[in-house]
């Protein structure tokens, strides 16, 4: 028998916590709209994020049509093209990925996986969603404001972001963008406090930190990072808003616009870049760490095997989180910097490959000789691993100063970025939705539609982004509205662009199938039962499915083991839930 301390009291100081007093809604409004229940908030976050993501998807279609078939639609002029780029990037990175991983999955999974009744500050949690919704509405308002949304690129670099040459620069576009970001950050901070403190204080009996599923570790670490990184974007946004509205010169150098000397002078655009990327690089991992965590759980569950190297996985998550704060300037190689700095940031950037590679090895070793079920979540998890490795490898190219400088302004960066931060996390989001949908709704999503969705998305993403690396190596620049007749770009590059566009349209259409499946399965999906995947974690052990307000009925669960007891030799089933104790030692001894 394993070595268990005779009583856990010997090792862990006891803290007695009373069962929390739950907020009880009284009306339809407070149950479903202004709800303080984390599960309802999670669904609200997810639906809002997916809806605004749909807008970003349509924008990417329009951009691809312009790149593949320049001038096909007359309404896509250069200004609109830049507006589409900007809004697509901003929506995808912040309003979809961040909001869905932390606001959506965080809210749903943290209380359930930890055996809590709800988040620790439910009221702030509710406010968090409504501020997020407000931020999205302000963002969307940009489309209807005079001059349209900002076209400054998702990085919003000054001085161009607030000049008349950039769409929305002298109109409402940039102002609405900055206000929306500020609102988002305030809202996120309220939610983020909840996620962190619930992990710290809301855990059930026996749920030590090292018994938490890796999903929670990923979301927890990412939230801590987001809480510390978003203030940088907040500061940058406030200062740029001052520059734009009040005429200060934080970022604005002396500049002549349309033959007219502007009031600004002496400001530093580089200062903005530092602030932006101090947020911007951790942001990559704010999205990636929850994905890492979720994918670990998907692989372990659907390969019926315990995760390989759990402790390493936890440490790697924490180390990646810490390192990601000291690499930001690798986004600024082309802005020029002291060569020593370049060396420092290239080194730290490449060091991140170590803990990341450990994670990839551990995923592969978990799969090794596992009982792999090619369910939908597993397919997407596998899709994630290959895509992430691909995107990570090109990251090694771009992390080096000398390689980055010539590649920086080409499609290579677009391809790298979409592989590693676009396709890879989206794969996890899909896998996670297929995985947890039965718990949220009580029904399975349709398998056939799901498989079509996976194969079109997975193969399509490769058909889109692999050729894009090649275009980048040819020197095809990014951010260009149209290439025209350029000597160094062969005709074949144009045909490749047409090909990419057609595939992109098809992949986009496959997402409509996914959305259809999401709605169709609500009513028509197979009944799932409480634990369709035969998983060990607590959210699958709720007394009823979908879990009611308060999650656990009368008794809170008690945790006796870690989250990965799959295929334990000698056990009756191939999984043992976290809340199932071992038989008492006395009876064990009698048996042997």
């Amino acid at each position: 028998m394993v070595n268990v301390p005779s009583s856990i009291d010997d090792t862990i100081p006891l803290a007695e916590v009373e069962d929390v007093e739950l907020y009880h809604p009284h009306s339809w409004w407070t149950t479903y709209v202004f709800s303080q229940d984390a599960k309802v908030i999670a669904v609200q976050y997810s639906v809002t994020a997916l809806s605004i993501g749909l807008v970003a998807l349509v924008l990417s279609w329009l951009m691809r049509i312009q790149l593949g078939f320049p001038g096909y639609f007359a309404f896509i002029d250069a200004e609109r093209y830049y507006q589409f780029i900007t809004m697509h990037g901003m929506i995808m990175v912040i309003y979809l990925l961040t909001a869905l991983f932390l606001g959506g999955f965080g809210n749903y999974l943290i209380p359930l996986m930890l055996g809590a009744r709800d988040m620790v500050f439910p009221y702030a949690n509710m406010l968090s969603y409504w501020l997020y919704l407000l931020a999205v509405l302000v963002l969307v308002a940009g489309f209807f404001a005079p001059g349209g949304p900002t076209g400054a690129g998702w990085t919003l670099y000054p001085p161009q972001a607030v000049l008349s040459g950039t769409p929305g620069g002298k109109d409402w576009g940039i102002i609405l963008m900055l206000i929306s970001l500020i609102l988002f950050i305030i809202g996120f901070t309220m939610g983020g406090l909840n996620y962190v403190v619930t992990v710290l204080q809301g855990r059930a009996r026996g749920m030590t930190l090292m018994r938490m599923p890796l999903t929670i570790w990923g979301i927890f670490t990412a939230t801590v990072m987001a809480l510390l990184a978003f203030p940088a974007l907040f500061v940058a946004s406030v200062m740029m808003l001052f520059d734009r509205v009040l005429g200060t010169s934080f970022f604005m150098p002396a500049i002549v616009e349309m033959g007219e000397q502007l009031q600004h002078g002496g400001g530093s655009p580089i200062l903005f870049q530092h602030l932006f990327w101090f947020f911007g690089h951790p942001e990559v991992y704010i999205v990636a760490l929850p994905a890492f965590g979720i994918v670990s759980d998907l692989i372990s569950t659907h390969a019926r095997k315990n995760i390989f190297g759990y402790r390493m996985m936890v440490w790697a998550i924490v180390i990646i989180g810490a390192l990601s704060f000291v690499v930001w300037a690798h986004h600024m190689y082309v802005s020029g910097m002291n060569p020593n700095f370049g060396f420092f940031f290239a080194t730290t950037t490449l060091i991140i490959a170590v803990p990341t590679a450990i994670k990839v090895y551990n995923w592969v070793l978990t799969l090794w000789r596992g009982d792999i079920h090619l369910t939908l979540p597993m397919l997407f998890a596998l899709g994630f691993i290959v895509t992430f490795v691909n995107g990570g490898l090109t990251g090694l190219f771009l992390g080096n100063v000398v390689v980055d400088v010539p590649l920086s302004d080409t499609m290579f960066v677009v391809a790298h970025f979409h592989m590693v931060m676009g396709v890879a996390p989206i794969m996890v989001i899909f896998g996670a939705i297929y995985h947890w949908y039965p718990k949220i709704t009580g029904r399975m999503m349709d398998e056939t539609m799901g498989r079509i969705h996976f194969w079109v998305t997975f193969l399509g993403a490769y058909l889109i982004f692999f050729p894009m690396h090649y275009l980048g190596l040819l020197g095809v620049p990014r951010r260009y509205y149209e290439l025209g007749e350029t000597a160094f770009i062969p005709a074949s590059a144009h045909s490749l662009n047409e090909f990419i566009t057609i595939v992109a349209l098809i992949v986009g259409a496959a997402q409509m199938l996914f959305l259809f499946n999401l709605i169709w399965s609500l009513r028509r999906g197979k009944e799932a039962g409480g634990n369709p995947w035969r998983a060990t974690t607590l959210e699958w052990q709720t007394p009823t499915t979908p879990p009611p307000h308060g999650n656990w009925g009368k008794e809170l669960p008690v945790v006796y083991r870690w989250a990965y007891d799959y295929s334990v030799p000698g056990a009756a089933e191939d999984f043992i839930p976290q809340n199932q104790p071992n038989p008492d030692r006395l009876s064990m001894e009698n048996r042997s």
Binding site: V120, L193, L209, S249, L275
Partner: protein
């Protein structure tokens, strides 16, 4: 960016210290509990609300440190003329200090269950904190009257922006404080409001600390620190 890196390093030390106490080297796959021994909660005995406020203060700290980082970087450029500090700021600092001390005193009284003293203490700290805000507005007006406008010079812009941001945080604190006071006036016992008062006190001390750092920054006492940082980086 050296200021924020130092701040982050400090946080990293705190987080590492905390993590060192979390048995992160344990082997969870070997530690299965049996039905007869019910495990305890593995959470801190500090009140959850205090931990929540602590995390929030770390975020606020990061926010102000980033403003300070930006201040240092912008300061190094050629067009910077430091702004003269109105003498009124000394008075404001004193008033905020009194406010903080008053809340600390209130906190001790609340722990000793003396509701009358709590009532008086809350009133004093509310009035002084509100007085600080009014004083800040007068300091702004003094500067504007003397011709130091927001957009004239980055030093001015930073001064108005950062003091404004600090003022907004004090304003948010006043909302929390008035909610606590309301509870007391509606007849809540000292026991009931003890935690709220403690949270307010914690927030007040933190905002006082932030203000003292900002004051030193605007007065130019931090310049030596900046020079050291700059030398470290070159």
């Amino acid at each position: 960016m050296s200021a924020i890196l130092i701040f982050m390093a400090g946080l990293a030390v705190i987080i590492s210290w905390w993590m060192a106490h979390q048995r992160l080297t344990s082997k969870p796959w070997l530690e299965v509990g049996t039905a007869s021994d019910t495990p305890g909660f593995d959470v801190s005995s500090i009140e959850t609300a205090k931990i929540g406020l602590g995390v929030f203060l770390a975020v606020v700290g990061a926010l102000f440190t980033l403003f300070i980082s930006a201040y240092f970087m912008r300061m190094g450029l050629a067009d910077w003329w430091a702004i003269p500090l109105p003498g009124l700021l000394w008075v404001n600092t004193g008033v905020l200090l009194v406010s903080s001390i008053a809340l600390q005193w209130t906190k001790i009284r609340a722990q000793q269950d003396q509701i009358e003293a709590v009532r008086a203490g809350l009133l004093v700290s509310f009035v002084t904190a509100a007085g600080f805000l009014v004083g800040q507005v007068f300091a702004w007006r003094e500067l504007v009257d003397a011709g130091y406008f927001l957009a004239d010079n980055p030093a001015n812009s930073f001064f108005y922006m950062i003091t404004g941001m600090h003022g907004l945080h004090i304003l948010g604190g006043l909302v929390a404080l008035s909610r606590t006071s309301l509870k007391v006036w509606e007849g809540a016992s000292a026991k009931k409001v003890r935690l709220s008062v403690e949270l307010c006190a914690m927030y007040w001390h933190f905002m006082l600390l932030v203000w003292l750092i900002l004051f030193a920054l605007f007065a130019g006492w931090a310049n030596d620190f900046v020079d050291i940082c700059r030398q470290l980086l070159t």
